[in-house]
Assembly symmetry: C2
Homo-oligomer: 356 residues x 2
Amino acid sequence: MEPAETQVRFGILGCAEIAKKLSRAITLAPNAALYAVASRSLEKAKAFASANGFPPSAKVYGSYEALLDDPDVDAVYVPLPTSLHRQWVVKAAGKKKHVLLEKPVALNAAELDEILGACESNGVQFMDATMWMHHPRTAVMKELLNDSERFGQPKMIHSTFSFAGGPDFLTNNIRTDPNLDSLGALGDIGWYCIRAILWATAYDLPQTAVASRHPVLNDYGVILSCGGSLYWPDGKVATFYCSFLTSLTMDLTILGTKSSLRIHDFAIPLDENEKTASFYVTSQFGNPLVREEAVACELPQEAGMVREFARLVAGIKGNGNKPEEEWGVLSRKTQVVLDAVKASIDRDFEAVEIVM
Amino acid sequence: MEPAETQVRFGILGCAEIAKKLSRAITLAPNAALYAVASRSLEKAKAFASANGFPPSAKVYGSYEALLDDPDVDAVYVPLPTSLHRQWVVKAAGKKKHVLLEKPVALNAAELDEILGACESNGVQFMDATMWMHHPRTAVMKELLNDSERFGQPKMIHSTFSFAGGPDFLTNNIRTDPNLDSLGALGDIGWYCIRAILWATAYDLPQTAVASRHPVLNDYGVILSCGGSLYWPDGKVATFYCSFLTSLTMDLTILGTKSSLRIHDFAIPLDENEKTASFYVTSQFGNPLVREEAVACELPQEAGMVREFARLVAGIKGNGNKPEEEWGVLSRKTQVVLDAVKASIDRDFEAVEIVM
């Protein structure tokens, strides 16, 4: 079956594990279609396509270049290891492909600037694949945060993302390989914590980052566990912790002057089959003091992300809209904070100024 | 009605707000009796006694000295402002009174050492009034933490205690008066956070404290809001936040290698009338992933505290037991961490080594 005219045709660069979830999301999003997949091995690409619901008409390529040369690919989803992002996103943008890029988006802000520059100069949409941003729960929580009567101002934010990786993960996974994802846990899951903190402060960039002492690195210097504190001149404070060595947590707590918000699965709803996801509000004078708010979710959050990305792409293709630059700005803010935490680790936990 | 022979006779030094709660606790504890109250104003002491369930036979004194001179007072509860603790506890111990002391126990570890020294040399029991330590929920959580099969080892601990004090509190309360409680929020509620962190690590003293930048002080230099990070050489990390300027939170989250424990009212159960109090356990491979554990509570936690303190006192009086020194050790560990955080604030957020 050919994609409908109004559907954005996706090509997937690489057959990473996470690409399975995104393939399903592209299938579920009404304005997107699985159109092509590429791997350095044609066999692997074929197997991926048949296992992940690609239509019989889908294109299967044995090289990333070949997929990028296909003029019918509107957009690429890039789940490649971080060290390959710059090279392939710059090429994809040069071929006028819109780019949905897995996080961490780059090894550092300088690399990200090349990526964003290529997207901008080619007029293509950029978005990082921070899926939870697109869950309806996130929008409902944002309404609360924006309501100064109910929430007040945020004062303290704490976020964790951890899971126990296990021996095989810690030695063989690309996320702990210094040549592929040298940022390790900080890039892979610390990204979510830092984004959540920025999101909670309406993207008010902190002034200073101080990394936590005694981070755990593997033999190659890749971060397995770390954390840090972020400070704003107005007194706001945030702390985060990310680890491949601790049991599963995805906590986000935002303390406001009038109430506080607490969520224990902010990045991925713990039960992905549930049609609702919850957060908790504590109010000093509320009754009850702790209130659960359940938010309905019609599509998985990753499908919501694909739908929003495809909507922007369709607007550019069909209506001549400009790309939405906000997504690049959010990626860059996240990256500069991440870079500052990394710099603080490298400089013996010195306070590092965060500059955009 | 005279106290039964087996009941420890309590005298209360001062009519602080918190003393109302403790009077009720002494009434509820089966092995304790309200015996005397003292205030610098006899009228105030009389009013307090009649409003707080003291028996008609209770003694009412117009000075703290007079109460301490009463040979029938076995133990004193001391809710005086922190700056008065050293003076009055040393006097009370000299009169062989056992001492239940409100937190923060002292302005610094040197003062606490005088307090503990006086208690030790007079053979009296010392205990600080950290009430949540005596809630049955605390014991059930400790069982989980001690179970290396279920919980593993703690890796990251985060604790907050905050409430929105309001203008009157912030200007007129003793807890924000530099002459009475110069440690402000750090002493009053940060004490709980620090104790909770130590409790979670089986009182493994951290090596280093780094205070959060931009604490909020009032015009007299009293802390209204602050926080910090604590580091252990084995990689454990803890963060805390305490504030009189943020809405009500009492969070404690302990991330272990096999599961994590989360509680949102660790210091005082949000609904004190409930007969149960809950905590939450997340296990990576658990089903459900988040499990609520409700613990029954027959007595309010402060009555459980009085009962335990009175049990120790009765053992000393009746059986010639030695005072339980562990309670002094816990107070001192809490105080030295608190002192290190304060020193880090005073030294521009330098890392401060914690020494016992």
